[in-house]
């Protein structure tokens, strides 16, 4: 048991000593040692049983899904035990079921049928129990690129740690995790991503692991933690994992091409092929085991590579395929025979040293005190704001875009005259103002929200926060910048084109554009939540936008719109915006009539409005109609977030 002051002193000490002491910062004082046993685990997927959105999110047409029909056995009778204090590596070529096994254990499986039992310290447990003791580090890092490492961990800690933690304690916990993973020297560097420079790939992977370590779990699953890292970094990372396991944790990682220097760090190894286990035991004894079966490892060969290849189907010719199939079957049979003797003992041994249920319940209670909705909202709000404000490149791009659009429109309509042939220009100006930025904003927002799916999906799966606080944090954090861009958009065009020099007209125009652009944003938010990838979302939003713009009353006279489609015009926020802008500006205008004109003259704005069939409205009516649209879209957006899984897809 250590008091907070001791923890602070830990942080100052060299990194090697830190892990042993910092572990005690959580309420329970002592991390439980938990051994995980899995007995006869089977996992079957039947692609036919997917529901509509799952099918949609595989991006296949309904008739294409049936191609791979028929249930597929992903895991077949997997039995093993992972002991606390040991690093277990699950090895196998791609498609051998490593990731599926971790997914099943970490409770991330939503489809398919799972059979078999999982024991924690010999007691059979359900999924939610395992989840409370374990953490899952996925293969790819899903981090906000513009936060520093410390900020990233701080925000997650505030969302994860129980409410009983003071902010001082939270910071201590974050510092100790940073120290444990050896990130102290970069703790104030930005995380970065492919576009903006940040910390290195290995350090990013450590941050992902650090996020999972915050709650100090007893069991850690890692899916391919070394993929994409260079040799030194990978070695160093696995060293860190081995150290973590020495510290009374159960660490289970998957790896598909272990280098020999990494292989030496493993305590236990499990080799899988096609969902079956062919070896499970101490890493050091693996070569002996296979040698006894008649498959010695050649000199100067990496045993990890060699034995994984041995149990992989070699399809290069019929002959090799046959012989490798034979080898696999042979090894599998040998292993099953051996295991049937061993496994019974393993599980029974553990039932003896059963941990009191009280301890377990204590642990569970710890999780029930997680932060409430309001705290989640405030943390997420701060995190969103921070991430937006740190993204200078995007900020300046948005600023330049808004300004440039407005400036060009202002120049094209520079000091707009009041002749007869300019009447159409006045309506054109209102149309351009009403359509340009709202159109531009759609693509930007969809791209941004699809990027954010990357971490949103994972964090929701981690139960880091609920969807409600995220939704409100997102909406409110974006409002200030939205206001700023609209100001940038309105002012140059307004004064260059020479719109009525009147405060009330200016605010009417500003207010209408503000709402229209916001309505575009919410339409874009809705379409990015409703469809699984960027292209489909864009198509969806653009279709609606095109329909709304066609029926806005500029290209087609509102009187001449096909009567069956008048309703589209009535729900079009662009029509209401256009009409509102026209009402704010044009009635005050008088048009010049040249004396010797051959055609009759339209004298003032009111006549022109009648000609455009926009009469009979008011600015207030437009504002209310657009507000209605905004609320409808935002409500639908919330419903989509709530019920449609926001699984990210590569663009």
């Amino acid at each position: 048991m250590s008091s907070p002051t001791e923890v602070i002193s830990n942080v100052e000490e060299p990194q090697e000593k830190a892990p042993t002491q910092t572990a005690d910062t959580l309420e329970t004082n002592r991390r439980l040692q938990i051994d995980l046993s899995v007995d006869k685990l089977c996992y079957t997927v039947n692609p036919k049983n997917l529901n509509f959105f799952q099918k949609l999110s595989t991006l296949q047409m309904p008739w294409e899904v049936t191609e791979c029909s028929g249930p597929q056995k992903v895991l077949d009778n997997v039995t093993f035990t992972a002991k606390s204090g040991q690093l277990l590596a699950i090895m196998g070529s791609s498609g051998s079921g490593k990731t599926s096994l971790l997914d099943v254990l970490a409770g991330r499986i939503t489809v398919g049928e799972i059979l078999g039992d999982v024991y924690l310290n010999g007691v059979q447990q359900n999924n939610s129990m395992i989840r409370s003791f374990s953490a899952y580090v996925k293969q790819d890092d899903r981090l906000l690129p513009h936060l520093t490492i410390k900020e990233t961990l701080m925000f997650v800690a505030e969302l994860k740690l129980p409410t009983t933690f003071t902010s001082k304690k939270i910071e201590d916990r974050v510092d100790s995790v940073i120290a444990e993973l050896g990130l102290r020297h970069v703790s104030n560097s930005k995380v970065g991503n492919a576009e903006s420079r940040g910390v290195s790939g290995g350090e990013r992977r450590r941050v992902s692991i650090g996020i999972q370590l915050l709650l100090d779990p007893s069991i850690i699953f890692l899916d391919e933690p070394t993929s994409g890292l260079d040799a030194f970094t990978a070695h160093h990372l696995v060293e860190t994992l081995a150290n973590m396991s020495r510290n009374n944790r159960t660490v289970i990682m998957s790896i598909h091409q272990p280098r020999s220097d990494i292989f030496e760090l493993f305590d236990r190894v499990m080799i899988m092929t096609k969902g079956n286990v062919v070896y499970n035991g101490e890493a050091a004894k693996m070569v002996d085991y296979f040698t006894n079966l008649g498959y010695p490892c050649p000199h100067l060969t990496n045993p990890g590579d060699y034995y994984i290849d041995l149990v992989t189907l070699d399809p290069s010719s019929e002959e090799t395929e046959k012989s490798s199939r034979q080898t696999m079957a042979n090894l599998l049979q040998n292993y099953t025979q051996k295991r049937s003797v061993v496994s019974e003992q393993e599980i029974s041994v553990h039932t003896e040293e059963e941990v009191p249920m009280m301890d377990m319940l204590n642990m569970i209670n710890k999780f029930s005190q997680s932060p409430g909705y309001f705290r989640q909202f405030s943390v997420l709000f701060r995190r969103c704001t921070r991430n937006i404000l740190e993204d200078y490149l995007n900020l300046s791009a948005q600023f330049i875009q808004a300004f440039a659009m407005s400036f060009v429109v202002g120049l094209v309509y520079y000091k707009l005259a009041y002749g007869q042939s300019n009447i159409r220009d006045w309506f054109g100006l209102m149309y351009i103002l009403a359509a340009l930025y709202p159109y531009m904003v759609i693509l930007d927002v969809i791209a941004q929200y699809h990027n954010e799916r990357n971490y949103l999906y994972c964090e929701l799966e981690d139960h880091l926060y609920a969807i409600g606080p995220y939704y409100f944090a997102k909406i409110f954090s974006e409002l200030p910048l939205h206001t700023f861009y609209v100001i940038v958009y309105v002012i140059p065009a307004y004064f260059l084109a020479g719109l009525t020099n009147d405060v009330s007209v200016f605010f009417q125009v500003f207010g209408l554009l503000y709402l229209m652009i916001y309505c575009s944003r919410s339409l874009a938010m809705l379409s990015s939540a409703i469809l699984p990838n960027f292209q489909l979302s864009c198509f969806f939003a653009q279709t609606f936008f095109s329909m709304f713009i066609m029926s806005a009353g500029f290209f087609i006279n509102l009187d001449n719109i096909f009567s069956g489609l008048q309703w589209v015009s009535n729900i079009s926020y662009l029509k209401w915006g256009f009409q509102g802008l026209v009402y704010a500006e044009i009635p005050k205008l008088t048009f010049e009539c040249s004396v010797n004109a051959t055609v009759p003259c339209i004298e003032n704005g009111d006549q022109a409005i009648v000609l455009y069939a926009l009469d009979g409205g008011s600015v207030l009516e437009s504002v209310l109609a657009i507000l209605g649209s905004i609320f409808a879209y935002l409500l639908l957006y919330f419903i989509c977030l709530r019920f449609i899984p926001q699984k990210p897809h590569q663009m």
């Binding site: 020999s260 220097d261 100067l300 060969t301 090799t320 094209v412 329909m547 009648v610 000609l611």
Partner: protein
Amino acid sequence: MSSLRSKIKGKQVEILMEENACFYDLTYYLNGCTNQNPDADEDERQITPTLNLLNISYNVSEFLGPWWKGACFRQKKQKRVLNDINIQFRSGELTAILGSSGSGKTSLLDIIASRSNGQVGGKVYYNNYLCTAEVIKQYAAYVMQADRLLHNLTVRETIRYAALLRLPGKMGSKEIDEKVDKAIAEMGLKHVADSRVGGSVVRGISGGERRRVTIAIQLLQDPKILLLDEPTTGLDSCTTRHLVSSLSDIAHNGKIVILTIHQPRSDVFKMFDKIGLLSMGEMVYFGKSGQMVEYFQDLGYPCPTYASPFDHYVDLASIDRRNHEREIETMSKVQKLVQAFSNSSINDENIHNIEEETMRHSTRRTMLFFFKPQPPSLMRVLYCLIGRMLVNLKRDRTIYMSRLIMLSLFVPFVCAFLGHIKTDQKSIQDRIGLMYQSVGVPTYVGILIAVGVFPPLRDLYFRECRDGLYSTTSFLLSYAIHVIPFQAISAMIFSIIVYWVTGLHPSWSRFAIYYATIFVLHFIGEIMTVGVMGVFFNPQIANSTSALILSASVLIATGFLRSFPSMLDIFQWGSWLSVMKYSAEILVANEFSGLNFTCPPVQNIPCQYPTGEQYLADYYPDAVEHMRRNFWALGGFMVSFLFFTIVAFKIRGIPNMH
């Protein structure tokens, strides 16, 4: 000698006597071609061809600091990529160049293939002849890291089209077919010869087979030297083993095969005849693969029993950049290794061999010939390029249909809200709106299609143009020709529906004018985007740029949103440069001339335009008279867009894609 000479004349061998050209050894050439045994010649024993690198060094200069400071204000930094490399590659041997990333492996291949952009020091000899870019092309084939193949062609078609473009113009189709079959058999692709290549969307052959297709294409010309950049990246262990054993067979049949690899597995170790290990641009080891472990053992770095010597020694020779101390420590270790190797007997033997080889031949008096095969004729290139694009297009149902139908998918937006167009005063607004859509939509759809379809073709062109197969002009010309029929059809469908649903001015000649304008705009939209994609390689940026050009010119040049006379002068002048001005005038004059509008007595609005002529007189004066001029302008724009696209591609050049 005279009989030889007549043979040569028959084969149209060009005789070049320049000093620095890489000459082809006559006797060797004839032996290779006629498959006869070499005459047991005089005092010379049979020569195995060798590729010798002597004192190769390579510097690139890179700019420091942010790009917006411009080339003049940024500091230039010289970076040494390769330093003092001496290698002899021998025919019949498979050589692997190892090293961690950034060690200069790929640069070494670039230098051999004469594709490097920096300053190269030292000399490359083929046998004893100094090589230039022009000539190395004849001997060497370079297989780049990424496969750039058209997804919808079958393996046989892919190789056949490549053969048509690569093999000499005199070769008949039967001979070409034989070559293709031979290449397919050699790379073990028989069982998938008629399957589609496939890609990320369409399922096709496996990654390993795709890599084999790329290699088979490079083998068509029967190169003496085969260079492969990271051929095993992204392949699983079985496929890797299988591929390397094929490469080993190729090498043992009398070729120089050189490949780079950065994370080799122990099982392919034995298949390499020679191994070169690079670190920071310097040679740490080059010699027989069997001696490598022994060599390092003698230096005091034994390889553990259960470890791959590759992994072990690549790690040994790479720099650990995780922190400063480790970096200095590993750097000095690498320096020691480099020093040790340059003093070793293996290296001495290497250099001795190179010198012997390069000196020996020059004393011999042989007639030297540089044989340059006749390239395929322009007609064959165009025929082949167009044929390949059409086959690729035909196979892909989505692209095929979208080329034909996508334009018409916009018709509902144009027509549904409008229905049959009226003739009252308010319908003037509708007509202008319809014309706006008619200039905007075809151009925009052209942009969309080009963005979706063009990038894979462009990447293939980059690759093949680097190999010197055809010119930018023939590529872009054939692209333009192959899209024309599709655009003609889709513009026709679009025009027919729009014209008769909305009831525009009913006459055959006016319909023809409408159709022609739509077609030209559709075509120009696509060609313009193609040109933009030659400048910006990212399709997203190309898309936005083209869309921006389109919106800007619709805004200032059509007069639909802003009338000309009161605009700022600069915009008025600018509008003359836009095709939109002419097409808008054509469409409006075509529709409004000779049209009468009704004036229902509604409210207090005066009836402004009882006839179309009056409207034209106010907004588009002289549009009817300028009809002919405007059409000439449209034709001119079609040609000049194509011209500027070609110019854009030429100026931007080909990126060095690996």
